[in-house]
């Protein structure tokens, strides 16, 4: 065992063995390839557009990262993303409440949805796949029912202070970003800190890695998971509201299919679907990998319909890489 090949020495490096390394390389490769084919790819206008949409999925993805680290996942996020702004604008347009109150109400309702998800999963011991699939249908169905399937009016939000805080324009020179980018950055920093530096983070990882061992040490696994289901739903609602203000539309169908795209982002970044291991940095990379791919292939002239082929290939490739790293790691010292 004293003979170490150069390859082994290279792959044995801490930073290469990190789960974030593969996604990082992939993102750089994407950026270089798209830019070399079409220089517009890195134009301020294109970057700004990509970022706007990216942070909305990204908010859901960072919440999902913690939830998946704890060993669960949430298929209802896409429908909560669609339902929450519908609820908010319906309340607002009916004249029943102000926008502020409607906003708070929709976050509280999202928290309740998460609470129900978490309660079914932890207390009734039903797999999160089934619970959140059921919730997906209930929530989406409710959104369609209260709107008769029609989008809600939202234009009255234009100059409202809440709209400005959430998605107002921010100019850095000529470069325009939405305020939602700052919200996303804030959420990433806070949740990244929580996961890696705090005892809650330790509990989240332990709950996903070995729940009975965690329980034996006095960790409240159920409460940890329920809190994460609530966080996940609230972030999805928050993202949905941001999206509806940005696009001036609250469509009961929006967010359809987001759950799978978000889960893909999270696992590409190196978080384990089976729980116990999660990385916010990896998820941020995963978010950008998929968004850049979607934007880039259209820009270089590949038909957008081919998008899923690339996404599927990326998922498979990254899973192979992560499992290889995992096995190397487990193989020992």
């Amino acid at each position: 065992m004293t003979h170490i090949t150069p390859w082994r020495r290279l792959t044995g490096h801490r930073w290469i063995a990190r789960p974030e390394f593969g996604p990082f390389v992939l993102l750089v490769v994407e950026l270089v390839v798209f830019w070399s084919i079409n220089h517009d790819f890195l134009s301020p206008g294109n970057i700004s557009n990509t970022l706007a949409f990216t942070v909305e999925l990204g908010l859901i993805a960072v919440g999902m990262t913690l939830l998946m680290t704890s060993g669960e996942f949430d298929l209802s996020v896409g429908s909560v993303f669609g339902f929450s702004p519908v609820l908010m604008w319906t309340l607002m347009n009916s004249g029943a409440t102000s926008l502020e109150v409607a906003f708070v109400v929709c976050l509280v309702v999202a928290a309740l949805i998460g609470l129900i998800n978490g309660w079914f999963v932890t207390k009734l011991k039903i797999p999160s796949f089934l619970v959140t699939l059921g919730m997906l249908l209930v929530v989406r169905g409710t959104a369609l029912f209260i709107t008769d399937g029609f989008p809600q009016r939202t234009w009255s939000a234009g100059g409202h202070w809440l709209a400005k805080i959430l998605v107002g324009d921010i100019y850095i020179g000529d470069f325009r970003v939405y305020a939602s980018l700052l919200w996303f950055a804030g959420v990433v920093l806070v949740l990244g800190y929580v996961l890696t530096q705090t005892k809650i983070g330790n509990w989240i990882q332990a709950a996903g890695g070995n729940p009975s061992a965690a329980r034996a040490r006095g960790v409240n696994v159920d409460r940890t998971k329920i809190a994460l289901f609530m966080l996940s739903a609230m972030l999805a609602a928050f993202a949905g509201v941001i999206s509806s203000i940005r696009t001036s539309a609250a469509n009961p169908n929006s967010g359809t299919g987001y759950e799978l795209e978000v889960i893909a982002m999270v696992v590409i970044g190196g978080t384990a679907l089976s729980g116990g291991r999660g990385t916010i940095v990896g998820t941020v990379l995963g978010i950008f990998i998929l968004r850049v791919m979607r934007n880039g292939i259209v820009l270089i002239g590949v038909p957008g319909l081919a998008y899923n082929i690339f996404i599927g290939a990326i998922i498979l490739g990254m899973m192979a890489l992560h499992s290889w790293l995992e096995r190397r790691h487990q193989a020992g010292t």
Binding site: Y193, Q197, T198, K199, G201, N202, W203, Q205, A206, G208, G209, N210, S212, A213, A214, R215, A216, R217, G218, V219, A272, G276, R277, H329, Q330, A331, G332, T333
Partner: protein, 250 residues
């Protein structure tokens, strides 16, 4: 040597299976008790009762003379009874340091924005691994998943020692371990005893038990059939006969 734990007239049935039938067992301070018995004798059930993992049907448990009720494993741990099953007590994805302090993370920073004191966790982990007798230099950030079976036992034992468990229960800790690793675990157990902890040590390999314990208790079909065998004055063959019921010995 004072009395640490006394289990008195413990019975436990699973439906119609009488797993424990009026079992009494005492463990003294700084004593390693070897618990022997054939498959199904009731050893695991007895220590599960003691570690709060299963409720007893009847009987009492006393810790230093005070009667206790153990409603769950957390209860037992807070009463100073720590059980170490192979693997299951640790989270393989987490590092050694994070496992050591799981559920009892030391904090630093302000009350509102506190974080784990990782410097302290690492320092304690390093020190404990040395104390428990791991000579190889293993960084405290190493995930449990990349440790060997014996090293994992060592981490679990180190944790029990650090949090001052009075009684460390090891159910077949040497299963699936090689010669060197087994010797390592036996050394950890002795180390724990020498620093004032008591142990209950269950193993099928009588040689291992003989090497480390102060007293041997034998169970057969849910009953304790011998509770004061001295490994220094008895032979392995004699104990084997007690286990299989071909001979009674007192």
């Amino acid at each position: 040597m004072g009395e640490l734990i006394r289990m008195s007239h413990i019975s436990k049935s699973y439906g119609r299976v009488q797993a424990l039938d009026d079992v009494s067992l005492t463990v003294n301070e700084s004593e390693i008790v070897g618990l022997l018995g054939d498959n199904g004798a009731g050893k695991s059930t007895l220590i599960k009762v003691l570690s709060g993992a299963v409720p007893l049907t009847s009987g009492d448990i006393f810790i230093r003379g005070t009667k206790v009720t153990l409603r769950g494993t957390t209860d037992a741990i807070s009463q100073g009874i720590e059980t170490i099953y192979q693997d299951s007590a640790l989270v393989t994805q987490l590092s050694i340091a994070r496992n050591l302090f799981l559920g009892r993370e030391p904090l630093t920073g302000s009350k509102l924005f506190n974080r784990m004191d990782r410097a302290k966790m690492d320092a304690v982990a390093r020190d404990l691994l040395k104390r428990v007798g791991i000579t190889k230099n293993i960084p405290p950030g190493t995930p449990i998943g990349s440790l060997s079976g014996g090293e994992r036992q060592a981490v679990a034992i180190a944790r029990a020692m650090y949090f001052d468990s009075d009684l460390i229960i090891l159910d077949e800790p040497t299963n699936n371990l090689g010669v060197a690793e087994t010797q390592g675990v036996l050394r950890f157990v002795r180390g724990a005893r020498d620093s004032g902890h008591s142990c209950i040590f269950i193993a099928h390999n009588i040689h291992h038990v003989f090497q480390v314990v102060d007293r041997i208790v034998v169970m057969r079909r849910g009953k304790v059939v011998a509770d004061d065998i001295d490994p220094r004055t008895s032979t392995i063959e004699q104990v084997e006969r007690v286990i299989t019921g071909m001979d009674e010995m007192h």
